[in-house]
Symmetry: C2
Subunit: 434 residues, 2 copies
């Protein structure tokens, strides 16, 4: 079995909607690149494998939450990667609102600068606000976006391998040997790209690819192209089931399913006692007590209210968890609720302590949080987790101080960085050998 892998999300001021207003923080740090630098430095102190940013090329003006997705990830993480060694950098970028040549080039540039530490998280974008920043056409259907994503990733991978790494020995005669840089001559449904890319192959062959698909098309895309798969999985059996879906599809695409690393999201709220962690959880939402949490949760997710209509201590109506494959919203978060409800008759009171920001929540003592992580990992349900920290950057230091040592003591997590590129660290095959 591979060791435990951990990534940590560096989005905005933290995963908690009111993280911007947390005591002792600067509310506007989301627009200061040093906030992300400091967060990455803390993640490096914790020997995290990866720092992660999601992305959304539009301003989200939900005034119940923090401003999220501001700086361009490729530009932001280039400055951070130049200053922070070892750690991997996961950047989210849309296959619907980029051109494959430009994006392949930017990611390859960052892969050189970082010495082979880049992961591209492919998203197809689902929000009409994004579409409105890129032309008059409405958001394409999910099916079209995923066909485009598949072709986009294929073009990017071909471009990434189109110019061999220049040898350290100078060319003997002419500068160019035509065989070292090859046109790709791609002509498909969405793209025509001649190539070659003007960035040569970098230290890890090419960036690692990740995907977070939960719909049928998403899982297929992940199984075909991804090395790392992110997901919202609220129940351990759901993780096994999801892995089985992924593996089956990977085999159908001729891949070794052992080459995929599943890293579902895990929001962590720590306290010296579970009660202290619960109070912190409530305070992060601006509440005193559990009822406020429950009321907010029901209202936000289903627009239903406590009181007459919902009893916080009776199992939720399964009808609340319905979803369709053709909905425009992401399928993953809703599907994970449905699976949790199918596995357990869960009450609103239980649910708010199990889910946070759409991801599984671990709220409790460092020992309880570490045991949750080690339980899922040692049973083979996951390769690791993508940790969501409620308030950045200090929450990373707290996780480092209290949880990382327990994971290291167990032997599951290393005390120092191993491998020189991210691909080596993740024990992934070299794409040059395909």
């Amino acid at each position: 079995m591979n060791r435990l892998y951990l990534s940590v999300a560096l989005n905005s001021t933290g995963s908690a909607p009111r993280s911007w207003a947390a005591p002792g923080t600067r509310w506007n740090r989301f627009s200061d690149w040093r906030h992300y630098l400091r967060s990455a430095q803390l993640a490096h102190e914790g020997v995290f494998d990866i720092v992660f940013v999601s992305d959304h090329p539009a301003l989200q003006r939900d005034n119940t939450s923090r401003p999220i997705h501001s700086f361009d990830p490729t530009v932001l993480f280039s400055a951070v990667a130049a200053a922070v060694p070892d750690i991997g950098f996961l950047l989210t970028a849309s296959s619907s609102y980029n051109s494959p040549y430009n994006l392949a080039r930017r990611l390859a540039t960052l892969d050189h600068i970082s010495g082979g530490r880049v992961i591209w998280n492919v998203v197809s974008s689902f929000n009409p606000d994004i579409a409105a920043n890129f032309g008059a056409a409405p958001l394409p259907s999910r099916a079209e976006r995923y066909r485009r994503a598949d072709e986009f990733v294929q073009v990017v991978r071909d471009l990434w391998l189109s110019w061999d790494t220049p040898s350290d020995d100078p060319p003997a005669g002419d500068l160019w040997d035509a065989t070292t840089a090859r046109r790709i001559d791609h002509h498909g449904e969405f793209f025509d790209v001649t190539g070659p890319l003007n960035v040569p192959i970098g230290p890890q062959g090419h960036p690692v690819i990740s995907q977070a698909g939960a719909s049928e098309a998403g899982v297929d895309l992940a199984a075909k192209h991804a090395d790392i798969v992110y997901a919202s999985l609220l129940h351990k059996q759901s993780a096994f089931d999801y892995q089985a879906r992924l593996r089956e599809r990977a085999l159908a695409h001729g891949r070794d399913p052992g080459d995929l690393r599943l890293l579902p999201g895990l929001t962590v709220i720590l306290g010296e006692t579970r009660e202290e962690a619960y109070r912190k959880h409530e305070a992060l939402h601006g509440h005193r007590g559990e009822d406020g949490l429950i009321a907010d949760f029901l209202h936000r997710n289903w627009a239903v209210d406590l009181g007459d209509r919902i009893d916080p201590d009776k199992p939720l109506d399964p009808a609340l968890f319905a979803h369709t494959e053709d909905q425009q919203r992401p399928v993953g978060f809703v599907r994970s609720f449905a699976e949790l409800a199918a596995a357990e008759e869960i009450t609103p009171r239980q649910l708010v302590r199990r889910v946070e920001g759409g991801h599984r929540l671990a709220v409790g003592t460092p020992r309880e949080v570490a045991d949750t992580i080690l339980d899922w990992w040692s049973s083979g349900a996951v390769a690791g987790f993508n940790i969501h920290i409620p308030v950045l950057p200090d929450g990373i230091a707290e996780f480092n101080r209290h949880v990382i040592p327990l994971l290291q003591e167990s032997g599951a997590f290393p005390a120092a960085y191993d491998g020189s590129t991210l691909r080596e660290r993740l024990k992934l095959p070299d794409p040059r050998n395909r």
Copy 2:
């Protein structure tokens, strides 16, 4: 009069086609980002105002020259800007092969990271090899590319001013005050962009804009939008004439012509004596003696040969300098030849010592080079120069050691950095006051 401004080009291994093979250098340093970092550090030691990269999103496989335009400029300069203070970063990016939202966002991100030191050099791209990496459509006509560039720049500028800098004081009630972030609702011939941009206004309002137009459409674009204008100007009178064209157009667009900074290219080859500089010039092209230089120059520029057909000591036939406004190649370089030939009856022997890489050449002692720079600047022909260094990075150290002190002694060039943003240093108006 403003002080002298200097930028330096950091393209590839240097401006000399055989710079990759210069003794004592690593030929493949063009694909090592630390080469650009080292070059920028040297430029910073020389108190240069700006480091400059041109760009071309396609691999150029001319085996008589060095590989140029590899790394993506926004990603490359983000890593460099995080490590090198004070100096400005000029990045070239195409208005034909980007989307305005993504490019505005990347440049705004870098403007934040650098603390207000970014210049966007707008190009419309002229090469069919580029077009072939971005779809099946051929390169648009010059007229269409410039109409698109004008609209593109307008959209980018509007996006850059669409979200006010978050105040250091936390919001009193709701997180968002709707008046701080404004949709731009642009609907034009080429673009539909709703906005607002998801990056707030940065330390210098927005990035400085530069342009290098020489065609009628190019000069008009520069006069309408640019703060800095790059150009190929081989003769001082051409610089005055070019400034007059720019100023006239700037007035027509309602701008103060005094807000434009003209920085033509200047290739510098230094020697302790002029003869030594001449030998160095020849050696950079792989020659011993002047005839090799002349033969190469004629062949490269006009595909004509020395010997029977051309006498190196007789004025060149003016017919060689013909150009048309509708040609696909850039107008600037050819036009500057024509103006030089109109002003002086120039022989091939003289021409090779006046032009290098399409730009004016200053080949001689440090005193001669400094005098050329100071002569053009003090006469008001230019605001400064964009220096092209034949072999990077060491050529910058040589320029720093021998030429910079002469410029500083004259009082034209500062001994240390002034102003906290690039816009302040260049004494340009704040776009927030428009």
